[in-house]
Each structure stands twice: as structure tokens, then as C-alpha cells.
Symmetry: C2
Subunit: 206 residues, 2 copies
């Protein structure tokens, strides 16, 4: 996250706010996916001319990469906050994660489900690199969850016979499924009841 100040030489200043443009691009890619979102769509939605978008992000793939980071910095950070909260027990952390998934995946103001899961579910071979970008994010997020569970296991918060890697994969799988459910119109209450059932029979110690 260290960013060299990029000492400006001169020239006309950028006429649009990068983050504001990315926010609008996030919505488009989130809703329609990578392939079904055209540069013309992005120009229409953001009000920024194509040449300016290319000057700022190189190409469509570069714009999408910036969109991924923007989504991660805004939505994902909030979703995964309980995992990084040292005040929460392991169970509370996972409970908070699933509750936030239920609410954010069904949030009326944004497209349903999770951007990371649906924005590039299936793409052409030419866009394989795009699919890989999101896959890496998904795998990294899962690894973060598993690490949290491993810390909990090390502190005796899980039953001795519990494999944190399997439990983490299970929790992550439920979240991914909840995203599909939300896309298909599941309400927040339905998602919460799914989360509750996943948390049922939590392998607590003792």
C-alpha cells in the first residue's frame, strides 16, 4: 500500500474523480459481469470519454483490475472486518462474517450477491487472466479465514478433532452459495437462516 507521491510534471489536471468513476464501474461490472459490460456502457455510465478512461487505466482489463481493488477496499474490507477484529471470539468472528454477508449480499442499493463471485464466473479464453484475478482474490480471502480459524484452534476455541482448513472451506462455500441465493432473489432473512444453519453444531471445545 506504500504509494510514491508520483510527482506531477505538468499538464492539464484530470477532469474526473478516479474513485467516483471506479464506484460506478464497480456497479456495472458487478451487475453484468466482465464480458457483458462494454466500454460504451462504462462511458455512458461514468460520463467520461473513452480516451480518458484508456489514458487512466490502459485498457478494459486494467480498468477491471482497478475496479477489483476498489471493491476490495470498500465492500470486502467491511465484509471481512469481523475476521480481523481481535475483540471477537472465533465463533463471533465467523458469525459476524456470515451476518454481514447476508446483509450486504441482499443490500437493496447494490447489485445482489458478491462481486468477487459473480463478476467473472465464466469468461472466454481470451479473458482468462481476468478470471484468474478474481480467483486469486477468492483464494486469498479463504486463506485469511482459515488462518483466523487456525489461531482460534491454537487457543483451544475449537474441538480438538476439527480441521480449520476444512471448516474454513465449508464456511467459505456457504458464503459463495449465499451469493448465488441472493442473485436469485433470496431475502436477508432467508440468508440469515442459512447462515444460522451453517453455524449450528459449531465444533466448540468441550
Amino acid at each position: 500500500m506504500t504509494e510514491t507521491k508520483a510527482r506531477r510534471r505538468a499538464g492539464r489536471p484530470r477532469g474526473f474523480d478516479t474513485d467516483a468513476v471506479l464506484d460506478k464501474a464497480v456497479r456495472l461490472f458487478w451487475q453484468r459481469g466482465y464480458e457483458a459490460t462494454s466500454m460504451a456502457d462504462l462511458v455512458a455510465e461514468t460520463g467520461v470519454a473513452a480516451a480518458s478512461l484508456y489514458a487512466a487505466f490502459d485498457n478494459k482489463a486494467g480498468l477491471f483490475a482497478a475496479v477489483i481493488e476498489r471493491y476490495a477496499a470498500t465492500f470486502s474490507v467491511h465484509l471481512y472486518a469481523p475476521i480481523n477484529d481481535p475483540a471477537l471470539s472465533t465463533y463471533e468472528a465467523v458469525e459476524g462474517l456470515l451476518e454481514r454477508a447476508a446483509s450486504s449480499f441482499s443490500e437493496p442499493g447494490t447489485p445482489a450477491g458478491c462481486f468477487m463471485y459473480s463478476a467473472a464466473a465464466a469468461v472466454s479464453p481470451a479473458s482468462a487472466a481476468i478470471e484468474c484475478l478474481l480467483r486469486d482474490k477468492r483464494i486469498a480471502a479463504e486463506a485469511l479465514l482459515i488462518e483466523r480459524l487456525q489461531r482460534g484452534a491454537a487457543q483451544g476455541e475449537l474441538a480438538a478433532n476439527t480441521d480449520p482448513a476444512v471448516l474454513g472451506k465449508f464456511i467459505n462455500t456457504v458464503m459463495e452459495g449465499m451469493s448465488v441465493q441472493a442473485r436469485d432473489g433470496a431475502t436477508i432473512n432467508e440468508l440469515l437462516s442459512i447462515a444460522t444453519m451453517a453455524l449450528d453444531r459449531w465444533p466448540a471445545a468441550i
Copy 2:
């Protein structure tokens, strides 16, 4: 499923096997999704000229609709067989369903995951009808699962405080998540351990 024999009038016979063409089209749409699969791709893969495909299926959407039915008649039927097997207990039926999901989603000879979940996860507004076709299939499959659970509940196979609708949505959510996991490279053993953990939540009577 009733099909009028479509009494042929005359004319040159079709030069290709419809099901064979659909099988190849299934693979393409399964792997790349609806938007990222072009008619040129389909022509190259099937060896059938574009005009012939249009004569047989009207347009790309019509071909995709036929592909959905072909997938349902081949892969989905096998996946959901345990649900319709009267010899199995409710638990065994769900267990069989998840086991088949684990193996078929990671089957080396086919694209990873489930066609129904990933072939049109996010599409353009112009293709909204396509997305709806698959969503209806997903919802119908979930309803089928819930009906099976309701029958089990009626026969006392579930704990009295269990809501079959919630349990069915949970099982279905895990399956949808398993599809994403398979897409991201999960092995059959990893998927099976996820399924096992989901079944650990099983609300048996007594």
C-alpha cells in the same frame, strides 16, 4: 415431455445429429458462459455452419435454451437421482445428492462446477431472459429438494423443530458454493469434506 411425432412433410434430411451438436455446445457454454461464447465458436466446435444452426434453433438464445434442456436431461437428471429414489431415506437422499455434486462438479472430463450456476451468472440487460431461464431451473430444483424434505418431515425423519424449506435452502446453498469451489480448483476430496460438514448439521429426529 410429451412430444408430438412432428410428422415430416418432405425435404432434405438434417446432416448433423442434434444431440451431438448440443453436447458440444453444452461444453462451450458451460466453460465460457453465455455471453463469452460466440456463434463462431459454436460453428468451429460443432462443425455445423451458422445458417444450419439458425435453421435448427432460431437464434443464439434458442440454441442456449436447447442446451439447458440437454444439460438437464443428461447431467442434472443424474445429479438429482437420489432425491427421486424412493428406496432411500431422506438423509441418504441428501447425502447421495451432495456426493454426486462433489464428484460431478470435479469430474475431469467436463468443465468444473455446475452449468446451471455458472453459465449465466452475470449478463447484459439484453440477455436478461437468458439469466431468467437458468434462474427458473435453479429455483425449480430447489423446490424439488424442499418437497423431498417435506415428505421426509411428514414421515418423522426430521427433528420436529426443523423447517424443511430452510434446510433445503441450506443444502442447496452448499451445493451452489461447491460449484464455485470446484471452479476454483477444489478436488473431489475437498468437496466431499465440505459435504460431510454440511451433513453434520443434519437435524435427525430423536
